[in-house]
């Protein structure tokens, strides 16, 4: 087995070229793609998250690490799909109806992709019906909603109600975030989870699919 620590380093340092090259070489030598993901890339993203929490990394470092992870996953994903392995989860992400602020949502989307999730980006101002449609037609098992304004926060509750009405609330985990959101609010409206930052959102999504 070749030395794969450089793959871990490439992801932590956000070196997409290196992570892709090492991945290709490792696959050519017959290493199982899941070994690459689970033993090197996922721990690397965990380390990136730790550095973010410790104020050693900020958003740019997160983004380039997620990009390096994705560069490798782009090669690995088709192999996994071909043999029937599913992605960690399929996330429908968007800002809620009435909210046009998408930086936070975009950041969480990038990191979720880096974390091995398939991300269906529904954009901004997403109506509850759109989330429902994505669950039904594309098989999303996580809904990630963002709101930056207190005035648009209630749309999260409306969306959860709509999921219940549609009879698909049990099929999905609902995760929420955004500047005015708190754990208390998440509990009040019956969301499955809340994170105050993008790194936490990935951990939350992983927990949510593990519990499903």
């Amino acid at each position: 087995m070749p030395e794969l620590k450089p793959l871990y380093d490439a992801v932590v340092n956000g070196n997409a070229k290196a992570s892709q090259a090492i991945t290709q070489e490792a696959l050519a030598q017959g290493i199982d793609p899941l070994t690459l993901v689970n033993e090197y890339m996922v721990p690397a993203m965990d380390e990136v998250g730790r550095r973010f929490e410790a104020n050693e990394y900020f958003v740019p470092e997160l983004l380039i690490a997620a990009r390096a992870m994705k560069a490798s996953l782009d090669i690995i994903r088709p192999l996994l799909t071909a043999r029937g392995d599913q992605p960690a989860g399929r996330v429908a992400i968007g800002t809620v109806k009435g909210d046009l602020h998408d930086i936070g949502k975009n950041l969480v989307g990038s990191l979720l992709e880096g974390g091995g999730f398939e991300v269906i980006d529904l954009g901004v101002n997403v109506a509850p019906e759109k989330f429902i449609e994505t669950v039904r037609e594309k098989g999303a098992n996580i809904i990630a909603m963002s709101a930056l304004l207190t005035t648009t926060m209630p749309a999260m509750k409306t969306t959860i109600e709509a999921l219940k009405q549609a009879g698909i609330r049990q099929q999905v985990k609902v995760l929420i975030g955004g500047a005015p959101i708190t754990q208390k609010y998440a509990d009040e409206i019956g969301a499955d989870g809340y994170s105050e930052n993008a790194v936490g959102a990935v951990a939350l999504a992983k927990k949510a699919v593990a519990a499903a």
């Binding site: 900020f58 958003v59 740019p60 990009r67 009435g98 930086i103 901004v124 207190t150 926060m153 005015p180």
Partner: protein, 290 residues
């Protein structure tokens, strides 16, 4: 120092304005409705907000043009009305100011991230040049590049704003890191101050992101890093939802209790951001003149 800025500061610290979005909502702006479009649809309502700030004592008022760049307007299908929206924005504030206040025109962020390739530097440069020119042609006294999270984007906007020859204020959001003293991209007040000054901003500062208490140390650090005047517009604390209603923790009185410290820390332009209202501006104005 630019003469417009020097003249304003000759009379001591300058009171700016407060939030516009919440004021427009109080006058009927709907959820998800794009505020800038009201410059055309409901100019009288926009002017009411501007006038409320002028009456409250704002020596500088902004314009309802925060999102009137082609990137944001494209999401509204309103790019073809870009010049009109910006022009009306300046005219509305000017009409409310009637010689009592200066009109500093607002330029907000694109909402896209350069790093992820959402948008290119060239696209941003084009968008900001276009908006800055429209605002300058309409007769703005200065341009305010505000609520920026990414220093690189802020610098592109400052450079575009400078092409007009108007004085340029540039302020960023400090809301990240353990001590909430970094921008989203991780820059410190010192890094921001140096870069914005090198980029040619006449006034630098901070707005949005957190309540006024956190602005004191940030202003101090910005001030220590440059000889340019400092601009500070804090939120009225963080909003909370109580029984379905938006509640801000700070009252005008709580907010202004920090104003002396803010000025001591080096702030020359003081106003409010999210959650503040004409009542906050009136209180700041009383505090500064006392």
């Amino acid at each position: 120092m630019h003469s417009t800025i020097a003249q304003l500061l000759a009379r001591g610290p300058v009171v700016t304005d407060g939030a516009w979005g919440t004021q427009l909502q109080a006058r009927g702006l709907g959820l998800g409705e794009f505020p800038d479009l009201w410059n055309l649809a409901h100019p009288e309502k926009v002017q009411e907000v501007a006038k409320a700030y002028v009456d409250a004592g704002s020596r500088v008022i902004l314009t309802n043009t925060f999102g009137a760049n082609r990137i944001r307007l494209a999401e509204q299908g309103a790019v073809d009305r870009l010049v009109e929206i910006n022009t009306r924005g300046v005219e509305i504030s000017r009409a409310a100011a009637v010689g009592r206040s200066q009109v500093f025109a607002s330029i907000g962020p694109s909402g896209k991230i350069l790093m992820t390739g959402d948008i290119t530097a060239d696209e941003l440069r084009t968008a900001y040049s276009e908006q800055a020119k429209a605002l300058a042609d309409a007769g703005a006294d200065a341009l305010v590049v505000e609520t920026m999270s990414d220093l690189e984007e802020a610098l592109l906007a400052v450079s575009a704003a400078r092409e007009t020859g108007l004085p340029v204020v540039a302020c960023m959001v400090f809301d990240s890191g353990k001590d909430k003293d970094r921008t989203m991209m991780g820059n410190t007040p010192e890094q921001v101050a140096r870069a914005l000054v090198d980029g040619g901003a006449d006034v630098i500062g901070a707005n949005c992101g957190q309540g006024v208490a956190g602005f004191v140390p940030i202003c101090k650090r910005l001030h220590a890093a440059t000889d340019r005047p400092i601009w500070a517009k804090a939120n009225a604390g963080l909003p909370e939802l109580l029984d379905g209603k938006t509640v801000y923790r700070n009252t005008p009185e709580e907010f202004v209790s920090f104003v002396p410290e803010l000025i001591k820390a080096g702030a020359s332009f003081v106003g409010g951001c999210c959650g503040t209202s004409p009542a906050f501006v009136a209180a700041i104005s009383r505090q500064i003149s006392s």
